[in-house]
Symmetry: C3
Subunit: 141 residues, 3 copies
């Protein structure tokens, strides 16, 4: 277990832009506001999305396009440093008009409307490095 204690930075509420990409918007926010480490949640609706499942044996992501409009019923994620830059990691659950849900690692999400709550965390930034066991960029210190 790698435990990092951080200090609370800013608390931000953000209305993200209609038509923009959810991952890009949070990345831009992190760059513009110099946020190196943080935790967030988002609720709203997406016009369409691309999510992914990570194959734990082949160590490859398979992508899934969600073409219908969807409620963004859950989105939790974090910001940390990967290759020297703020990197956004988010998982989502989407719901269609019948309430049917689809979930995964968020690759892209075209925003219809989105409300972000982000908690900035200050101190030594959390850094991602490739982990041989999982093939993922995990927090390494």
């Amino acid at each position: 277990m790698l435990v990092r204690e951080l200090k609370r930075g800013r608390s931000l509420l953000v209305r993200l832009d209609h038509g923009a990409d959810l991952v890009n918007q949070i990345s831009e926010l992190a760059v513009d506001e110099s946020i190196h480490t943080g935790a967030f949640s988002v609720l709203g609706a997406l016009i369409q999305a691309e999510i992914a499942f990570y194959d734990q044996e082949s160590h490859e992501y398979s992508a899934l396009l969600v073409e219908e409009n969807a409620e963004l019923v859950s989105c939790t994620g974090n910001v940390s440093i990967r290759e020297g830059k703020p990197f956004v990691h988010a998982h989502v659950v989407l719901a269609d008009s019948d309430g049917k849900t689809t979930g995964g690692h968020l690759l892209h999400g075209k925003i219809f409307a989105a409300e972000l709550h982000l908690i900035e965390l200050l101190g030594e930034p959390m850094v991602r490095e490739i982990d041989q066991t999982t093939g993922l960029y995990l927090w390494s210190g």
Copy 2:
């Protein structure tokens, strides 16, 4: 992107009332405690619920009644000001006895048991106003 920096207010943990409505309970809490802006999550179980999907073309909500008892497996939301009063916006994912999930915008949820974590945010309150592009009451400043 509308970015609002707020100051951290109180951190509340709340056991909500068995048999009461989840949205009403959080609204009452916000009014009673004079919380104008905040972010929250809830876990628990609901006796039944009514959720909604927003049609991005017709700009109308369609409601879906979930009549069976359900685990409240995810509930994230926020409090902000709409028409001069604290307004609760929450999205949920519900699970039935087979683990099957249903999600949407929460209209009503009759509480079996519910545990709320709410972070109050102080400063200029976030205010909702009607947005012509989406037909929704979005954060306008």
Copy 3:
């Protein structure tokens, strides 16, 4: 409604251990770090999991084994005191390779990779006691 105001303690980001149990890891963290009360979220992937649904009439949990590898698309929970010790309560939504989701009360989850954000809450700890109406250990003060 039982409303408890707590003071903000530490903010922790934690990379949990590959192959370990998600509930046990958070319990161990709480014990090791003397965290009596807190709120958390986790994202990552699980090798397998066991989740449960609480029958609101019989007051019994039925367990469901999720044997396939899964994205941990949502996990929210809290730490409070039950029978004198820190107790972890978490609900999850899991997604398979088709994005299909399954959710419930988390009993066990074998970690492939998991990133935890935990907010410690200080002050009089929140304590669980058996509640006759629901048959659950609920926050009693």
